[in-house]
């Protein structure tokens, strides 16, 4: 769907520009004497340059303590041109030439020193072999904890061995015992099941499930619940959300036009299915990063590459497509580094990473894996789609062709194509057709408009030909004006074609990546600017993480390397995120930064033990999650403790569980679930629940109307809500759901008055309260007390306390007296014709109170 243009001629122009440095007249004159490198030059370099361009650091790839490296140059190419000092970048920089960063920063070489260096270069830049220093110093960060190989530690001995349920607890308790802190008691059974249920499937348990668990006295009762929930098809829905935050999934392009991506959900479908089937994480990784490169990839493996199709697309008129192609390459490299390695490699887009050992060259080598990808949309049929499609497809093609012929499309399009190519080749020649050409580059749906139009019709695939023809019919007016467009009646034709297409079975599409057949060169971009080409780079993993996975590594080699024993990061980073989902905070708090600026793990051995277990268990996500939730550590109460407030206010020692405000989607899911409205349907296209007017209209794509879904699709889980990037659904925005622009490794949990207004006054939540009240009244026997007890069990899985009961009864009576005076309010809330309408309306408000409790929107 996204357009990609590679302009080799442009690259060549940049290279040429690089070669011709500015002529700078005010250079200090070269010294007029023979220069001795060891005596005259090396001391200047050592004193002024080695700090950044020496054995320990090679900023911008430049190293000046070693002859071969120095003469080769840095990221921008050679800096010493033997015999031509006035054209050597090194000289221009130390002399402070305009528009170049002066070197060394913060000080200035004397004109004499510059003159000596000039003379040395003019005399051939001789570097005696004896003067080359190749003493390797350990690279920065070499000893950083997360870059060390993974070894499985032995669980430590503890005094209170009885508390330990599995090795997780040994690591946690050993630390607590050192600090003299006792762990918290196990949470009550209802709290435990509510926690487990929200954590594993993202839905609250039913009163029946609670009762079943409370009455199950078998020793493995808890494990049975864990197994049941891990096997639930809702497990994939809950854990998909965490993965989609990393993939920065969205249902629209982003940027100004923010077009809807009607097939984006197909990738989400893949994630849900992969998680439900406990696809091993190594396979999960390989399919998403390089599924297209597997031998004979299945459709599902190709759909998986949709991970990297969540990049934004800028279709704004006049944008430079090469710029946004480049931005997507960068985004894919940054995302990969962050998601699998927990490293902020994107910081090295403009310069070597300030803190981590990631150099700019490392970053562009990683980016080079993605520099040669193409965005390819494919047929990715869902079960049951192929048969009907096959049966009717020929007929559909015949009818489509007949329509095209009727409106003279073949001849008009041929004419249009010829002039379009002429306009594209000669910008400015036809000012009106320039716009039509730009539109072809931006707005062709399902293909790359320029690439297709430049192919001979017989060389185009059916998909390409259709894409171009559809574009031609939709946007012909840009080229010829409205009058002519009316004459050919293309608007009418477009409507007929759409109607025809909608009346025939179709195949679900998927957004995928493929490798381009025409490889092209990758370059480092100086200061991160796409127009500023530096040295050529080749696909490669970061140098500080050891040797390359293969001689000329491919995207497949990258994927396999990420989940190999050669990469110490992936397993640690991944289990840390599981821990974060289950405790609110990771063992490494900065789950987005395992680099040198990130936090150290609070329990380093526990992290390594879990990571090793993860790999030993064949990268099974469910197995390692089960280990965590089976631990005594996980099962503790989350209640605050006076003794911990001073010793460990942030709960880093894990002497208790943590209360976690539910993420946006789960707040909705819970309200719909307890009220009985929730549709249990899993998967499928995104849905649009009720949304007030004026939300979508804030964006430029205001034409993208929010057409409310019908039937049970109004009550689907939050995961399925259509995510329009520039105007997200209010509940999601209010409760800190990510905006889908970049990877989010940990959601924030803010607390704002808009959240309160959302839960109090959003018609969706009031509807849930009405349904909840209806459910309570029909499922529980008549008196207030038993109904209240049932309502509490539904909402928060416990009985009300005596104080709560008394307070709510008081509320209820007062509410009834309010409604006695407000018949219209009663009409709005109670069902028509009910005998005790005031009572019913009061129950609706009581229900809404329960759906607003802090406890309701919190997992304890």
């Amino acid at each position: 769907m996204v357009l990609k243009i590679v302009r080799y001629s442009k690259f060549a122009a940049f290279l040429f520009a690089l070669a011709s440095l500015p002529v700078f007249a005010q250079l200090p004159p070269a010294a007029e004497r023979p220069i001795d490198f060891a005596k005259d030059i090396q001391p200047i370099f050592a004193q002024n340059c080695y700090g950044c361009h020496g054995p320990q650091m090679q900023t911008s790839g430049l190293r000046l303590d070693d002859g071969a490296s120095a003469l080769k140059g840095g990221n921008s190419g050679a800096v010493i041109q033997p015999g031509k000092s006035a054209e050597s970048a090194l000289v221009l920089r130390i002399a402070g030439a305009p528009n170049m960063m002066a070197m060394p920063p913060g000080k200035k070489l004397s004109p004499e020193q510059v003159g000596v260096i000039r003379a040395w270069i003019d005399q051939g830049a001789k570097w005696p072999a004896s003067e080359t220093k190749v003493a390797e110093a350990p690279r920065r960060g070499a000893s950083h904890w997360s870059f060390q190989p993974l070894h499985k530690p032995e669980p430590p001995a503890v005094r209170d061995a009885a508390w330990v349920r599995n090795p997780v607890d040994a690591f946690v308790l050993a630390r607590l015992e050192r600090e003299g802190i006792a762990p918290s008691p196990e949470a009550s059974k209802p709290t435990l099941l509510r926690r487990l249920s929200l954590d594993l499937i993202g839905l609250p348990p039913t009163p029946a499930e609670i009762a079943g668990f409370v009455n199950d006295n078998r020793p493995d009762a808890y494990e049975r619940q864990v197994n049941r929930l891990l096997a639930s098809p809702h497990y994939g829905e809950k854990w998909a959300r965490y993965w989609l935050d990393l993939a920065h999934y969205g249902d629209s392009d982003g940027y100004e036009k923010d077009w809807i991506r009607p097939s984006a959900w197909r990738y989400r479908e893949w994630v849900i299915n992969a998680l439900n089937s406990d696809m091993p994480f190594d396979e999960f990784t390989i399919d998403q990063l390089a599924g297209d490169l597997l031998p004979h990839p299945t459709i599902e493996q190709r759909v998986a590459t949709g991970f990297h199709r969540n990049t934004l697309t800028n279709r704004e008129g006049g944008v430079d497509n090469e710029q946004f192609r480049f931005e997507n390459v960068i985004a894919r490299a940054s995302t990969t580094g962050l998601v699998w390695m927990g490293l902020t490699v994107g910081c090295a887009q403009c310069h070597d990473h300030k803190f981590d050992p990631t150099t700019q060259k490392d970053f562009y080598s990683l980016a080079a894996f993605f520099d040669n990808v193409e965005e390819t949309d494919i047929d990715a049929p869902m079960p049951g789609e192929i048969g009907p499609w096959l049966e009717t497809h020929d007929e559909y093609r015949r009818k489509r062709q007949a329509l095209l012929d009727e409106y003279h499309v073949p001849e008009l399009q041929k004419e249009w194509e010829a002039k379009m190519i002429d306009a594209g080749d000669h910008p400015g020649k036809y000012t009106d057709w320039d716009l039509a050409w730009d539109v072809l580059l931006k707005l062709t749906v399902g293909g790359d408009g320029e690439k297709i139009i430049r192919k001979k019709p017989e060389a185009r695939t059916q998909r390409e030909q259709d894409a171009l023809t559809d574009h031609f019919i939709t946007y012909y007016f840009y080229a010829v004006g409205d009058a002519k467009n009316k004459e050919v009646k293309f608007k009418e034709l477009a409507e007929k074609l759409n109607k025809l297409r909608d009346s025939y079975p179709h195949l679900t599409q998927a957004l995928t990546l493929t490798e381009s057949k025409e490889p092209h060169k990758s370059y480092l971009r100086l200061r991160g600017n796409y127009k500023n080409l530096g040295i050529e780079v080749h696909p490669g993993t970061p140098e500080f993480l050891g040797p390359q996975p293969a001689e000329n590594p491919t995207r497949m080699d990258l994927a396999r390397w990420l989940v190999s024993s050669k990469n110490p990061l992936t397993a640690r980073v991944t289990v840390n995120r599981f821990w974060q989902e289950l405790f609110g905070t990771g063992i490494v708090k900065t789950s987005d930064d395992f680099g040198m600026q990130g936090d150290r793990p609070t329990h380093p051995q526990l992290l390594d033990w879990l990571a090793s277990e993860f790999i030993e268990n064949g990268w099974s996500m469910k197995k390692v999650q089960k280990i965590i939730v089976m631990s005594a550590t996980y099962r503790q109460t989350s209640t605050g403790r006076p003794d911990l407030e001073s010793k460990d206010p942030a709960n880093t020692l894990l002497a208790r569980q943590t209360r976690i405000r539910l993420p946006a989607e789960l707040i909705r899911d819970e309200a719909l679930a307890v009220s009985g409205l929730l549709s249990p349907k899993i998967g499928g296209p995104s849905v649009r629940p009720f949304q007030p007017d004026g939300v979508s209209e804030l964006g430029y794509g205001a034409g993208v109307k929010w057409k409310e879904s019908e039937g049970e699709d109004r009550y689907r889980r939050g995961l399925y809500i259509h995510f329009q990037r520039t105007t997200p659904y209010p509940l999601l925005a209010n409760f800190d759901a990510p905006r889908g622009d970049v990877t989010v490794c940990a959601r924030l949990r803010s607390d704002t008055p808009l959240q309160a207004l959302n839960l109090l006054n959003d018609p969706v939540f009031l509807e849930a309260a009405r349904a909840f009240a209806y459910r309570v009244r029909s499922e529980a026997p008549g008196d207030f007390e038993s109904r209240l007890r049932y309502a509490y069990q539904l909402a928060v899985d416990r009985n009300p306390t005596a104080t709560e009961h008394a307070r709510l009864e008081q509320f209820f009576e007062k509410q009834k007296s309010i409604f006695d005076k407000e018949p219209k309010s009663v009409d709005a809330l109670a069902s028509a014709g009910a005998p005790d309408r005031v009572n019913e309306a009061a129950w609706v408000t009581l229900s809404s109170v329960l759906l607003n409790l802090d406890e309701f929107i919190t997992r304890e």
Binding site: G254, Y255, L338, T639, R641, R739, L748
Partner: protein, 480 residues
């Protein structure tokens, strides 16, 4: 114990002390610990929007950002270029345009001389176009910058750059940074409010999002139809009496739970619900213009077309500033005049010119201008060359996007009025002197609010991010 006392942030210590058992002490200890830390509040019970004193002396307490979406044409409004007449209808010499990167037209496009008439206004003698007769009366309060430049030449990236300092989506916006740095003095209103008029903007909510900051700092849209704030009104069936009844019991139940769980997050949520109720209660008063004098209403043009929508927003902005709202952003779309530029500008100026001037005068007469920074800006400017989409139609000519030299203005809040900063070359192709980059403007705005832009940072993904990225220099000349 008095519930309201509990809810008042100021008296929360009293509550914690008076709580039974050890729980109050826990929360108190937590609170004291957080207050003991220097700088930004960490404890959730501390309202993140509590007003803070900026590190440097500040003139501006509030900002009203008049965002003119779509890129208004500087050479028809602010920056006269009589020399263009010489080339009108012809291409510029290639030597002048060879490095020009434009969105739609080609560098060879014919020049379009402005047909507007410029005159000098105020004691300072600022040259302004006949399209801005009202703004012209404020010339001595305005600091006009004619030497703006940006590297983004498309709307969405340009708007992102203007508001977040980066052309990539995902970072916090100017309003969010202001709120993060200063908190808010508004008791019953959000600290960062967005008012819209005209069509939707390219940036959508990216222009006021909190990016990677908590959503606490995001702009809240005051809507033109329906609820002024989404979900502000009680839904059908919920009267004010019911709402109060709901909130009273909620407060009580949440407080019960707080006693059990000793989690300060619960206290924080109780506070949010009360603030929500106060927002509900106070918004009718905010929106009620009946106590404004007829002269004021007339000055803004509240009761006539075409000024009504924008005048309403300008007057609301003043009323919000009076009520302590830190950052008010008016988004007006659209100035994207690729064609029929004369008609388009006449229309947009007709809508906005009078209300904008009234806003400046009104703030001034109430003594608020000194502490309120008003900024008038688009995301970039427009080309001296014409964009002609329909050669056969008369008056079809418009102008393309042009980031290399354009105009914005600022007034009040630490800005020295009655001056023009910088200039473009005689054809308006690029900045001739006094270059001011978007990052420099941001640095200057933050300086007016009392911040060194290099020090207002937020640690995220291994890096201290700031509004101005790694660039930006305060434009000292703009300051008092």
């Amino acid at each position: 114990m008095n519930i309201n006392e509990f809810l008042s942030i100021q008296s929360r210590r009293a509550f914690f002390r008076s709580c039974a058992g050890g729980i109050g002490n826990i929360a108190l200890a937590n609170l004291l610990a957080s207050e003991g830390r220097a700088g930004v509040a960490k404890s959730p019970v501390d309202d993140p929007l509590t007003a803070k004193v900026p590190p440097l002396p500040a003139k501006a307490k509030n900002v009203i950002f008049l965002f003119m979406e779509g890129a208004p044409s500087q050479m028809d409004l602010f920056d006269p270029k009589p020399a263009l007449k010489k080339y009108h209808g012809h291409s510029l010499p290639p030597s002048l345009t060879k490095n020009l990167q434009l969105a739609f037209i080609k560098p060879t496009a014919a020049v379009l001389a402005s047909t507007r008439e410029f005159k000098r206004y105020g004691q300072c003698g600022m040259e302004l176009s006949d399209l801005l007769p009202h703004t012209a009366t404020c010339a001595d309060d305005i600091c006009l910058v004619r030497s703006m430049h940006s590297e983004a030449f498309n709307h969405h990236p340009g708007q992102l750059l203007l508001f977040t300092g980066s052309i990539q989506p995902g970072r916090p916006t100017l309003g969010a940074w202001s709120l993060y740095g200063l908190g808010s003095e508004a008791k019953n209103l959000p600290g960062f409010v967005v008012l819209t008029s005209g069509s939707g903007t390219s940036g959508g909510s990216d222009n006021f999002s909190s990016g990677f900051l908590p959503s606490t700092y995001a702009g809240t849209v005051f809507r033109n139809t329906g609820d002024p704030i989404l979900y502000l009104k009680n839904p059908a069936g919920i009267s004010n009496a019911t709402q109060r009844n709901r909130l009273d019991v909620l407060k009580h139940l949440n407080q019960e739970h707080f006693m059990r769980e000793a989690d300060v997050e619960i206290a924080s949520r109780i506070h949010s619900y009360e603030l929500a109720f106060r927002m509900q209660a106070s918004s009718p008063e905010l929106l009620d213009f009946s106590k404004e004098s007829p002269a004021t209403l007339e000055m803004y043009g509240v009761n006539k077309e075409p000024t009504k929508p924008y005048a309403t927003n300008c007057l609301l902005a003043r009323r919000m500033v009076e009520r302590g709202v830190r950052f008010v952003m008016l988004m007006h779309a659209s100035w994207d005049h690729h064609s029929e530029i004369n008609a388009g500008l006449t229309k947009q100026c007709g809508i906005t010119d009078q209300p904008v001037a009234a806003l400046i005068k009104d703030l001034k007469q109430r003594g608020l201008l000194d502490s309120t920074l008003v900024v008038w800006a688009g995301e970039f400017g427009r080309t001296p060359m014409a964009e002609i989409r329909r050669p056969e139609e008369v008056n079809n000519a418009g102008r393309d996007h042009h980031p290399n030299g354009y105009s914005i203005w600022a007034a009040g809040g630490g800005i020295r009025g009655g001056q023009v900063i910088g200039s473009t070359d005689e054809l308006g192709l690029s900045v001739a002197e006094g270059k001011v980059h978007v990052h420099d403007l941001q640095a200057t705005i933050l300086r007016c609010l009392g911040f060194d832009h290099t020090k207002l940072t937020y640690h995220h993904m291994g890096r201290d991010f700031r509004l101005t990225d790694v660039e930006g220099t305060v434009v000292d000349k703009m300051l008092v």
